[in-house]
Amino acid sequence: MSIISEVLLFLLHPVNLLLILGGSTLGVVFGAIPGLSGGLCIMLMLPLTFSMDVTTAITFLMSIYIGGISGGCIGSILLGIPGCESSLATTYDGYAMTKKGECVRALSAAVVANFLGTIPSVLVASIAARSLARMAMKVGPWEFFALGVCAVILVITLSKDNLYKGLIAAALGILCTCIGIAPIDGAMRFTYGNTYLMSGLNLTYVFMGIFATRNIMVEFARKDPSKDAKPEAVTRFKWPTEDLRNNKWNIIRSWFTGLWIGFLPGMGAGLSNITAYAQAKNASKEPEKFGTGIVDGVFAPEVANNASTGGALIPFLALGIPGDTSTSYLLGGLTLHGVITGPRLFTDYSFLANLILIACIIAGLMVLCTEIVGMPLFPKILGVPYQYLYSAIILLCIIGVYSSEKLMFHVFMFLIFSVVGVVMDFGKLPTAPFALAFVLGKLLETNLRRGLSYSDTGFMSFLTRPVSCVLLLVAVWSLISPYVKLHISKVKPTYK
């Protein structure tokens, strides 16, 4: 109890409240503008936090995370273009409602749905993460390696376009972690005498190059002014009492869906909003009305994508495994601030672990207030001149990369990784497996090598331990199941 009151005292300090307000508002703005996202905002702001102490930094970054997911609905509803992939399904009915002149109703529903999705899911995360961390304390490197492999493979299987491409992206991520001093024996790998490479590739320039500038450069190259939509004017927020009453089961179902999908490694809000929308449509008595502009189609994705934030926090806090791409940036941020993530977070960094959870709850409340008060300003967010907004982002990217270690070498590495990002985009190599493999690569290698050194049975030790064996089997099955199913469907005789 004393830790919680200490955390509350810290967070309720006016300066920290302002920081949460600023972070969540910034997150909403980045989440709202198509092409940008909360994840990008976390990346841009990460270097700014290097001069802050870790508690202040993580408070700020968590606020951006919560705001980023919530803001995505604004672009979806007002422009018909999702602010970020977590609000893709909101576009179907949200924009249709705008065209029917019901944009205030859609936005009000989305704002309340954001809140209803976030707060309970973070409360669940605060209980579940603690229990999971306690269990994880009892496991060894074998289980951690298997869990990491399982997480990466699950993300690879999401590569709808091509499984091989997912594997290539993951291999590239692993390869990037192989540069520098190796764990266990401290051997030097691929540094060729360069002292800047000894500590490995820095997360800031790798992520900024591959994710941030790649998006900006390609967006600029493809810019078509004729497709620029102008948002409708918006009046004040209206509490959706009637809509809430009619959608209570839809909200509960979508919340559980979002929480579960968020919990699975790598499958965050991007997937949960579409799944929840499909479930809402299937469960509806009037499925034909979906897509024509009904509020049910706004509640389902918005509750689900926000519930995913709590779900993603569970493996993030308990195991040090990111639940989605944004949490992988957050995990990187924690590592850069010298925090050792994993199951010991709740014991070694008890204040910080509780701070993350409570900051999310306060940020969720702040986002609700900001969105209620600021709703008439939503069209203005979307109307920020492109040339000024993107210029500022590009500058923040480059200066952020420099300031992470105050080295020009990082800026030049960033230029190299921008090219890698474009090549990955060209080949449609998915970014999520790369991000997860890059964040987890060192952990995978360390635990694999520790597991082998600690046992006399070599690789068999990973199969003789039940938890690690089950996790590895799940990973292998996830990888081969699409091919098995395809083979079965081909072999199955068809009766006419």
Binding site: L48, S51, A221, K223, Y386, Q387, M408, F426, G427
Partner: protein
């Protein structure tokens, strides 16, 4: 006749070549002396093997999809212009430092981005924005966050 998806072939070929290169370079990594340890060579070799296998499979994979262009010629030009703007800015930062190179870079960037958005370039507005943003970032980093910005090798 088999249809091959050209982009996949390029990525497949690139992966195979990168995998072979990594395998070759991994030879110089020393063996581990820790008992039972697979050594520091194993992980890069594993990643390289994955690249070679998946790249090879991607090369051989049959695709019924139509060839689609990643970017049109004018879009490639835009992409390269933007990229080389970054490169010039990085070099200018290294040589002249933040205070001199940033307003120039920002002015160029606002005009470039404005052109893509088919906005009539407002040079005065762009110049004011460039100077103000430079001053704001300088103040934020140097005074508030106490993070030093590049001074440049000429003036530093």
């Amino acid at each position: 006749m088999k249809k091959f998806f050209i982009k996949d072939r390029i990525i497949g070929m690139g992966s195979v070549l990168l995998g072979i290169l990594v395998c070759f370079l991994s030879r110089s990594i020393p063996e581990s002396t820790v008992r039972g340890d697979i050594g520091s060579k194993a992980f890069p070799v594993f990643a390289a093997a994955l690249l070679i296998i998946c790249g090879g499979l991607l090369l051989l994979q049959k695709s019924g999809e139509k060839k689609e262009r990643y970017l049109l010629l004018y879009q490639w030009k835009r992409l390269l212009t933007m990229y080389f703007s970054y490169v010039f800015f990085a070099v200018a930062l290294w040589l002249c430092g933040f205070v001199i190179s940033t307003p120039v870079f920002l002015f160029w960037l606002t005009c470039l981005l404005g052109k893509a958005a088919e906005k009539k370039p407002d040079f005065v507005k762009n110049a004011i924005f460039s100077i103000l943003l430079t001053a704001l970032i300088f103040y934020l980093y140097q005074q508030v966050l106490h993070i030093s910005l590049p001074k440049g090798i000429i003036f530093g």
